[in-house]
Structures are given as structure tokens and as C-alpha cells.
């Protein structure tokens, strides 16, 4: 059952997500934990002119969490925060309600479709969204631009 959950694309993304890619001088950082399993994601952002200029991260999590972190960091650059909120909704719908994959540039999240059968793992995919949402709220509230 798990065969296609751990497909090559996810494993490759997970390897990138396992790297320490913290930013030197972020506008904001946020760390979130999954209390169910102890996974932890830290996200850094730089915001310029209302758009995400750079994303950094460090994870201590499972392959799904690491892969999702890497994909999110790739796709989020040059996007507005509102775009991320829509992407998260689309990922949630894809996983929990058999929705279609998110629109580009978040369409890479289609690789998580096998995780639909494993509801306990959906939070692993969503954890980096939680961290990025939190840090963006802090960074934009702080007037970074």
C-alpha cells in the first residue's frame, strides 16, 4: 500500500528538504511542531514589496514533511502571501476531499496524492504550510518590505 507513497519524486524532494537551508538574515522565522509525532519545521522568509523574496528552512521530520517543505520553499518564492493560502486550501482539498492537484506552481504537490489513503499523514504534508503561514503573518505585520 505504501509503495507509491514513497515514490522516487518524494524521496528526492525529501532529501532536499532534509538539508539545512536556513537564511542568514530573514525578516522572520517560525518553528512549528506536530504534537502527535514530534516533527518540527522551521521556516525563514524575506519579504520584498509584498512578495516572498526568499524562503529558508530546517526540518526534523518524516519524508513527507521534508518533501513538502522543499516543494513549498521552491514554489513560494515571488508569490504573494494570499497565493499560499489558496495553495494550502487546494492541498487540503486534494488530500482530504479527493480534490484535484493544486494549480501551478504548487502542482508539484500531486506527488502526495497517494497520501490520501493515510489521513494520519496529512498533517505531515501540511506542517510547513503552518510554519510559513505563521512567519508570514509575523513578517508582514512587522512591516517588512
Amino acid at each position: 500500500m505504501s509503495d507509491d507513497l514513497y515514490q522516487q519524486a518524494i524521496l528526492e524532494a525529501a532529501r532536499r528538504g532534509a538539508e539545512n537551508r536556513r537564511l542568514d538574515r530573514p525578516d522572520g522565522s517560525s518553528t512549528v511542531d506536530n504534537p502527535l509525532c514530534g516533527d518540527r519545521v522551521t521556516m525563514d522568509v524575506c519579504v520584498r514589496d509584498g512578495r516572498i523574496a526568499a524562503v529558508g528552512f530546517r526540518t526534523r521530520g518524516c519524508a513527507l514533511c521534508q518533501a513538502s517543505t522543499a516543494l513549498l520553499a521552491d514554489a513560494a518564492v515571488s508569490r504573494e502571501p494570499g497565493t499560499l493560502a489558496r495553495a494550502e486550501d487546494e492541498v487540503v482539498a486534494m488530500l482530504g476531499h479527493d480534490g484535484p492537484p493544486p494549480a501551478p506552481p504548487f502542482d508539484t504537490y500531486a506527488m502526495f496524492m497517494p497520501a490520501r489513503r493515510h489521513p494520519s499523514r496529512h498533517t505531515c504534508v501540511r506542517l510547513p504550510f503552518d510554519a510559513l503561514r505563521q512567519v508570514l503573518a509575523d513578517a508582514t505585520d512587522g512591516g517588512s518590505s
Binding site: Y6, C37, G38, D39, R60
Partner: protein
């Protein structure tokens, strides 16, 4: 090989009839034999009623079954007095009861000793008591192999110690606590001892009063019975000295608009309608355990535990979190895997039909101590066999191979 008729034993568990199921998550929940299921169904279909108040025949029968269950649990724990058995929702409920009813008698500056090894259910209630009452929480360290470091008892137990609350068997390392040394240290300063018996219950029956402790907490769902019920055993004099934890029906003597007087123990601590069928099922589970050939079961589980430990030692990138030997150890085997998160190990093993537990096991301070986000845990029950261990090792090789 073990002296156990494994085929006959396994046939008693309907859930094991599922193909390709290798259930190694017994530390979280054990499966239920048909004998226990039958007792629960019989109770609910023949004697279902509330207890202690009704005079109709169903209520009489339900009360008798409920109080018989109390007597059975007293026997299972070696207690002569069934009035020392308080039914709770489980181990967590039992420990919270003590943290309030005993804890509220403590003064600011009094000390409670816990250990680094504790499940959150035997740590968080004491932290909450600390914050509520100004009690000081002191922590007993552990050894490198995950046992309580009892050589340090003298450093954390002192004149202000009022309670030592530690696990009987670790839910992560499987280490069995040397209770005699804990009791000796407690008695020297006139402190009480609480044991978290959640992981030990399935390996009973026990003679808890002979251990010298004051409180013992267990959950039924880890001893072949239903969820939602457990026991607090406490010495009669301890119960008698404590005020109620929760208020409501069943626990009163008289109530006026101005004041309430309370029932004697154990009813004083059983506010509201108790989990009646669950308690009856728990007693059936205790009887089922009592009927097992105990020595043969222990030998069987020790052999399988040894196979798990040896299998891990033979595989690179695995690190046992717990004692490598079989002495004073229960069949709970946790391990870390370099470069693979426990949830990924568990997910791959699930595809092999092997049910494991991965994560922090409600023991986050212990995970921090070992510098791991979590571990993978295989925990055995008497119905597990060599086929389960074989499937585990095969699945583990698959997981290790996928995440190179």
C-alpha cells in the same frame, strides 16, 4: 518450543484471523480475546443497567457484576481489600486523581519526585500540581540504557519529598523498575510511592501491596480488555485521608443546598456513572490473564524480545533505545533509525502487515535526552509468535533499503 499452544492461543483472538496482520503495537493497545468479548456482550445483553441505586433486578445484577469486577481486580493486584480498588477511566485518570486528591494535601515547597523516563501521563499532572500548589518537582535521571538511575535517589529524595511517582515498566525502553529501592528511599523520608503500571498490567497478576507502594495505576486496554476503564489501587488509609477529586452522583453520603458529605472510599472517588460493562470486561481480562501459564508466557516473550534485539543489533543504522539484555526488561523494544523518521519506518512496515508505533510515545523529555525526534517501537503480547518477528525484520530491511 515455549510450552504454549500458540495456534490455540491465537485462535482466541478474532482480530488475528485477519490475513497478513502482525500486531506489534501492544504497548499502545492489546487485542481482546473472544472470552472477554463474550462477557461484555453477555453483560450488555442481559444485565445492562446503572449500578448502586436501582432496586429492579437488572440493576441488582449490574451492581453485583460491577462489584464482583472490583473483587476480581483486587485479587489480580494482590489486594485483600476490594475497597482499595477505584475504577477510573485508565492510568491517566488514576494518576490525575492522585495528583488532585493527594496532591492538594501538599504544601508549597513540598517535593514530588518523578523521572526522566515517565510517560506524559505521569509527568504533566505533577507539573500542573506544581503550578497549582507551589510544589517542587524533582527529576530522577536515567542510565545510558534507559533505566532509572537509582544510584541518584539520594540526590533527589530529601526531607521535603512527599511522593515518588515513577513507572513500573517504561513504555519506551521496557526497563522494569527496581521498586524495592524506590520504596526504601521513600520510606526513609516518610514519602508515598506511586507506580504507573500501564505497561506492566498485561504481565500480571501482581502482588502490589507486597511491593510496598501506596498507589498503583493501570489501564485495561493494555491488558486484553476494553478501552475506557482502568484502576487506581491505593492503600485503604491513603484513600481514607484524601478528599474527593470530582463531585457528582455516586460519591456522596448526603447533599443539602448548603453542604455535602462524602461517601467512603472507593465510591468517594467514583463520581458519576462508572464504565460498568468495561469494568466487567476488565475483570474478564484479568481472569483470562490469571489462567495463562505465567512462566511459559514470560519465557516465550523473553525469547521473542531477544530475537528483536538481536535483529536490530545485526542491522546497521539502527540504535536500540533500552537495555540490550533481557534481565528486568519487558517486551517493549524501541529503536532509532539513522536517516529515517519513525513514521516512515512504520508506514513501510504497515505495507508488510506489521503494526508498530512511531513517534515520541508521549515521552518527549526522554526523546530529547536521547537526542532523537522519536523512535520506532515494537511491543509484544503473548499471542505474538516467530512469524510476527520474521515479518518485522523483513519489513525493517525493506525500510532501511528504501531510505538509503
Amino acid at each position: 518450543m515455549s510450552g504454549l499452544d500458540m495456534a490455540a492461543l491465537r485462535r482466541q483472538f478474532p482480530i488475528l484471523e485477519q490475513c497478513d496482520l502482525h500486531y506489534l503495537d501492544n504497548g499502545a493497545t492489546t487485542q481482546v480475546p473472544r472470552a472477554v468479548l463474550d462477557v461484555i456482550v453477555a453483560h450488555e445483553t442481559s444485565h445492562r443497567a446503572n449500578v448502586h441505586r436501582g432496586v429492579h433486578r437488572l440493576a441488582e445484577a449490574a451492581t453485583e457484576a460491577f462489584e464482583d469486577a472490583r473483587a476480581t481486580m483486587a485479587r489480580f493486584l494482590g489486594a485483600a481489600d476490594k475497597g482499595e480498588i477505584v475504577f477510573t477511566g485508565g492510568t491517566t485518570g488514576a494518576i490525575n486523581l492522585v495528583a488532585h486528591a493527594f496532591g492538594n494535601r501538599l504544601a508549597p515547597g513540598d517535593e514530588v519526585v518523578v523521572s526522566l523516563l515517565e510517560h506524559h501521563s505521569n509527568l504533566v499532572p505533577w507539573q500542573m500540581l506544581r503550578d497549582r500548589r507551589g510544589v517542587v518537582l524533582r527529576v530522577l535521571p536515567i542510565t545510558g540504557e534507559g533505566r532509572l538511575d537509582l544510584d541518584n535517589l539520594g540526590r533527589v529524595v530529601g526531607a521535603r519529598t512527599r511522593l515518588i511517582a515513577v513507572t513500573h515498566v517504561s513504555n519506551v525502553t521496557g526497563a522494569v523498575t527496581d521498586v524495592a529501592r524506590v520504596v526504601e528511599a521513600a520510606r526513609a523520608v516518610d514519602a508515598a510511592v506511586l507506580l504507573d503500571g500501564a505497561q506492566a498490567a498485561a504481565h500480571g497478576p501482581w502482588d502490589i501491596p507486597a511491593l510496598g507502594v501506596d498507589f498503583y495505576a493501570l489501564s485495561c486496554h493494555k491488558m486484553f480488555g476494553p478501552h475506557g476503564v482502568g484502576v487506581l489501587w491505593a492503600r485503604r488509609e491513603r484513600l481514607a485521608a484524601m478528599d474527593p477529586f470530582m463531585g457528582g452522583g455516586e460519591m456522596i453520603r448526603t447533599v443539602t443546598l448548603e453542604r455535602t458529605t462524602f461517601a467512603d472510599p472507593p465510591q468517594r472517588f467514583e463520581a458519576g456513572t462508572p464504565p460498568i460493562a468495561q469494568a466487567v470486561g476488565m475483570a474478564a481480562a484479568a481472569r483470562w490473564i490469571e489462567a495463562l501459564p505465567r512462566e511459559a508466557c514470560h519465557a516465550h516473550l523473553a525469547r521473542l524480545t531477544g530475537r528483536l534485539i538481536e535483529g536490530l543489533a545485526e542491522r546497521a543504522r539502527t540504535r536500540l533505545i533500552g537495555p540490550a539484555g533481557l534481565q528486568a526488561r519487558m517486551p517493549v523494544v524501541a529503536f532509532a533509525t539513522a536517516g529515517i523518521h519513525p513514521h516512515d519506518v512504520c508506514q513501510v512496515l504497515d505495507s508488510h502487515g506489521v503494526a508498530l508505533r512511531g513517534g515520541h510515545h508521549c515521552a518527549q523529555p526522554l526523546m530529547d535526552h536521547f537526542d532523537v525526534a522519536g523512535t520506532t517501537r515494537a511491543s509484544l503480547a503473548v499471542y505474538n509468535d516467530d512469524g510476527d518477528v520474521d515479518a518485522f525484520l523483513t519489513g525493517l530491511d525493506d525500510a532501511l533499503g528504501r531510505f538509503r
